[in-house]
């Protein structure tokens, strides 16, 4: 139920009504000093992709602020590999943004910690992928990463910076989730656990192979449910999850309505998961793209009832269909996405619900009718996030 006394809910409703990009995530780099197995990005040096300069980021952030931006998550890659990360972040702060910084923590020395503390962050979000150094280092594929991450977290906590330690349940760390949570508690951090393993932006579903077995995944999903009582309102979810009749009339999420994503080259996306840009901020202003994009208009006009399979799914009450994941996984954004359906089934099991996902219950033949190319992407438009690829045998077989 909506709490109409809650200022956050009221602000989200107002932003939804006025199409104000209240919340944005900017990836200032796709370069990183670690190489996490499950990362959805193809990591590349900034020079190679022609990443935005400091001045270009300043202009774009000002335009985003003028459009009503409030919450700004600055992410990478690893943000600290950019020498101007603090210049960008402090400029955003001076504009009045509430900042979240996403980092792996390994490069946070005393100087970086002092700078982060001066920003009065809403929070720094740092991945802790194992409770034991060997596990974390194995997933991050960098020896010594665990020790550096913990040292970085301690530096932030010593300066009073709020830190969230994040972990996605994987085969390698499934038995250490309790330990990771204990470390978070000991360091005075909030712990956030995920059971969603998103495909890579290039369409590869390889990260899914890193998930643990079902028993461990359901255990993790139960813990996610227990922890979600402390969660902040989702920036991408619908405002009123729960009542089926009302949900059908709603937009599936906030993508392109009150949230957006900007990539390191200035591509504007409706959300972080969306792989097809609506335009580039080197070529047009934020206002121009945000207000005049036909693609955004189409996304904004979409309702859950437009998704035939989702609309009849028994799990709709505990699921927010994700257009972006559907686009990435099935080539069409009109839900469902196998990843999201899998997470909905996990939630159902964690909550003791017997129902199954309508999509996952379909036969392979029925799914194929929905233009499915398992694990591959068929996009109606060209994406700058996706490298050009040749037609594969899989595609030819599907055709």
């Amino acid at each position: 139920m909506l709490d109409l006394q809650d200022p956050v809910t009221l602000a989200l409703i107002r932003a939804d009504q006025t199409l104000t990009p209240l919340s944005a995530l900017v990836e200032i780099t796709h370069a990183c000093n670690v190489d996490c197995e499950h990362c959805y990005l193809d990591l590349v040096p900034d020079k190679k992709i022609g990443a935005l300069s400091t001045d270009e980021w300043r202009r774009i952030l000002k335009e985003l602020k003028d459009a009503g931006g409030l919450y700004l998550a600055i992410s990478g890659g690893e943000i600290l590999v950019r020498r101007d990360w603090f210049e960008i972040a402090s400029y955003a702060r001076s504009l009045g943004f509430a900042l979240k910084l996403y980092t792996n923590g390994t490069l946070i020395d005393d100087d970086a910690a002092d700078k982060m503390a001066s920003l009065h962050l809403l929070q720094a979000e740092i991945s802790l992928l194992g409770g034991l150094p060997a596990t974390h280092d194995s997933i991050a594929r960098r020896r010594g990463a665990f020790d550096k991450t913990i040292a970085g977290v301690k530096r932030l906590r010593a300066r009073g910076v709020k830190v969230i330690l994040k972990c996605v349940a994987m085969e390698k760390n499934a038995e250490e989730i309790g330990l990771i949570e204990a470390i978070a508690n000991e360091l005075g951090c909030r712990f956030q656990l995920y059971v969603t393993m998103t495909p890579k932006n290039n369409g590869s579903s390889a990260p899914r192979d890193l998930l643990p077995g079902e028993d461990a995944l359901v255990r993790a999903a139960k813990r996610v449910e227990e922890l979600s009582g402390n969660a902040q309102p989702s920036s991408c979810g619908t405002l009123d999850a729960g009542r089926r009749g009302e949900k059908l009339k709603e937009t599936p999420c906030a993508a392109g309505r009150r949230t957006c994503h900007i990539g390191p080259q200035g591509d504007l996306f409706p959300c972080t998961q969306w792989v097809v840009p609506v335009g580039n901020l080197r070529e047009a202003s934020f206002k121009e793209l945000w207000l005049k994009s036909a693609e955004l208009d189409r996304i904004r006009a979409t309702r859950v009832s437009d998704f035939p399979v989702c609309a009849r799914c028994d799990l709709l009450s505990i699921c927010n269909p994700c257009m972006a994941l559907a686009l990435l996984e099935r080539g069409v954004p009109d839900g469902p996405s196998p990843t999201r359906c899998g997470v909905a089934e996990l939630r159902a099991k964690a909550l003791g619900m017997p129902e199954r996902s309508a999509w996952l219950a379909l036969s392979e033949e029925e799914k194929r009718k929905g233009a499915v190319v398992a694990g591959r992407v068929r996009l109606p438009l060209v994406s700058s996030k996706l490298p050009p690829r040749e037609t594969s045998d899989t595609d030819r077989a599907a055709e």
Binding site: P7, A11, R14
Partner: protein, 99 residues
């Protein structure tokens, strides 16, 4: 003989605590976040106009009242009450400071 007069005390000025507060105009409202406490406030249109004024620098109570009266067709006495109420709440919440 000269008589001494007590100097007039300068009026207090109010400023937005920009280092610790995030804000956005969400017409006709404004959203304010006190970052260290993670407290979110949704300002009504009058309060939003005051916040907008304070974004460009500090102001006295009279200057703020003048801006409210410029922007809204309201009774001056009522506007003064609303302003007083907002300043009290915003000071308490750490959103503005008195200089």
């Amino acid at each position: 003989m000269m008589t001494s007069m007590s100097p007039t005390k300068p009026a207090s000025r109010y400023r937005l605590m920009t280092e610790e507060v995030a804000w956005s105009q969400l017409e006709p409202n404004a959203v304010l976040i006190q970052l260290d406490r993670n407290e979110v406030h949704l300002a009504n249109p009058v309060a939003a106009a005051i916040v907008e004024s304070l974004q460009s620098g500090s102001a006295t109570r009279d200057e703020l009242l003048e801006r409210v009266l410029e922007k809204f067709e309201v009774d001056a006495a009522q506007a003064a009450i609303d302003l007083e109420q907002f300043l009290g709440v915003a000071l308490e919440a750490g959103i503005i400071a008195k200089e």
